[in-house]
Amino acid sequence: MGSDSDEEQHRVRLSQRPEWSDVTPVPQDDGPNPVVPIAYTQEFTEVMDYFRAVYLADERSPRALGLTAEAIEFNPGNYTVWHFRRMLLESLSSDLHSELGFLERISEGNSKNYQIWHHRRWVAEKLGPESANTELEFTKKILSIDAKHYHAWSHRQWVLQALGGWEYELNYCSELLEEDIFNNSAWNQRYFVITRSPVLGGLEAMRESEVHYTVEAILAHPENESSWRYLRGLYRGEATLWVNDPQVSVVCLKILRSKRNYVFALSTLLDLLCHGLQANQDFGDAVDALKTSDLDKHDTDLARTVCSILERVDPLRANYWNWRKCMLPHATNSASKK
């Protein structure tokens, strides 16, 4: 937080700088109670007092621009300073490429700050499509530190749509998923790419290869919520296709047979059954093998059995699975057990 003590020793107070001698600083209008603050606060307070002076005077000068940089370094969350900085950048016709450099320095340790991202977007928009690469590289850097960084992903999506650069995005998603198959943001981005990229063929064209990719991911980690949701999403608006695609039911069956991490396999089977899947005896056997002696062995309905097992193995959501059971039609389209 803030500069280290070495840096502070070299920093000259504004009141001591000759180029600021003509300015009277304006204190925060906040009421009484002036408790003596610690030194670091004094420096920051001084910067803000001088900032207020130039802001109220609407001074559009290079020194004002420099002052906003100092104020931002102390406190990048202050949106008024950013606001004034943008006005200054426009008035002074400043070089926006160097502004990107300034932003990079400020971003270190402040990447969760809305104002920085918003300012970056404003700069990039002004620079236009030529800045697409820089922006993609920048977000990549942030994501290499925090691969689920919400602002970075939001910015990246904006860059792709406003400035371009789609060519390598699917690859990038694959890279990130290879590092962490559980990265829900990367799965979301993958979906974003296959549904919106102008250089791919769209969801339908991509479906086959994506199903293959996703099934592999599921088999490797069946407890991965994101991959199962992604699989379902590949059949958006095509429930019949989803139910009838053997790849979907088969991956469920494989996981059920493994008897490990099968919660999502069970819930997916449940959804398939509710959408009309005609499950054969293999499913019945696999589900049976997951029953314990407590479970009602007379439950002949496959879907009901699945719900009962889920209530037991996913107890946090017992109420949900119980509700699913209650919602089942009485004579379901499932394989009869005995």
Partner: protein, 325 residues
């Protein structure tokens, strides 16, 4: 471990309100309006709103209003939709909505709606579904919801719906509990909840509960007290709150607030041994987490905490006063 340390929270909030010159307060001064809303709402939920000076707060809030009608985070700052809602909410807590120039505030918010129905945060144009919620909630409280294009606003929010049933900040943005709260809240207030796939979203939301009983905001992320609010209020709005395990969540929140209370009783300036809190300039995150923890407990009907409205994020008696007086 098993109880709400109300007195500690109240003392903390009152002390934080008076503290204006330490580093954390100076750093957070531009968003004081948010902090005041979090702090005062928490006090009201704990039945202690009468411990503060109403007039002092009300006059400070009004001095943050600009010519444009919008409110800033503090005196000397620029208006933004974020602080405009907080300002209106604070005045609602004090039953002082009648001092607002409603037309002025309405005009400001209407000016922030874009062609596609989305809302910008301020004149710089940042778009986010958070701002859709803020605009709708604020105008609803002021009984001026019809002044914006509600149909387009709803259409934009729906364009941010993802295939998992959740909502993101912009179309295609990852589903996130915070954004979901905003979108569901906005749809609830505009009477458009039928456009939500409640079963699908309800399942996504109840999958946020992890083994410890806490809630995360997205798959495979860590649980946090603030998600107790966003996930819970969303579930309540779509009538699916019974799908999570309430007892385990209550235990989780109480655990968090005990740890928080212990940390909060330390001297911020000199105590460096507790790591996190004294190092981070983000002090407002404590008021933030205190509010969300207490609000979450309110939704869970914890004894000693007043009920809170899940859509407006204000005590139910305040909301009743606004709409049924």
């Amino acid at each position: 471990m098993g109880e709400l340390v109300t007195e500690k929270h109240v003392r903390y909030i009152l002390a934080a309100e008076k503290r204006k010159d330490d580093f954390e307060s100076v750093v957070m001064e531009h968003l004081r309006m948010n902090g005041v809303y979090w702090g005062l709402t928490t006090l009201d939920l704990l039945g202690k709103l009468d411990t503060v000076d109403v007039n002092e707060f009300v006059s400070w809030v009004m001095s943050c209003q600009h010519e444009s009608g919008g409110f800033s985070g503090n005196i000397g700052h620029d208006p933004h939709i974020l602080y405009t809602l907080s300002a209106v909410q604070v005045l609602a807590l004090f039953n002082k909505l009648d001092i607002i120039d409603v037309d002025k505030v309405t005009k400001y918010i209407v000016s922030l709606q874009n062609e596609d129905g989305s809302f910008s945060g301020d004149i710089w144009g940042e778009v986010d579904t958070r701002f859709s919620y803020i605009a709708i909630s604020c105008l609803s409280i002021l009984h001026c919801l019809d002044k914006i294009n509600v149909e387009k606003a709803v259409k934009y929010i729906l364009s941010c719906k993802n295939m998992d049933g959740g909502f993101g900040c912009t179309p295609g943005g990852e589903s996130h509990a915070g954004q979901i709260f905003c979108c569901v809240g906005a749809l609830a207030i505009t009477g458009s909840l039928d456009l939500v796939d409640k079963d699908l979203l309800g399942w996504w939301l109840c999958e946020r509960q992890v083994k410890s009983g806490g809630l995360n905001g997205r798959p495979e992320k860590l649980p946090d007290v603030c998600y107790s609010w966003w996930v819970l209020s969303s579930l309540i709005m779509i009538d699916r709150v019974h799908w999570i395990n309430k007892e385990k969540l209550i235990k989780f929140i109480l655990n968090c607030q005990v740890v928080l209370a212990e940390l909060l009783s330390c001297d911020f300036e000199s105590d460096t041994e507790n790591g996190g809190i004294s190092d981070r300039p983000d002090d407002a995150v404590d008021i933030f987490h205190t509010y969300f923890g207490v609000a979450g407990l309110s939704l869970l009907e914890y004894p000693g905490v007043k009920p809170i409205d899940p859509a407006y994020a204000l005590p139910v008696d305040v909301v009743d006063r606004i709409f049924f007086k």
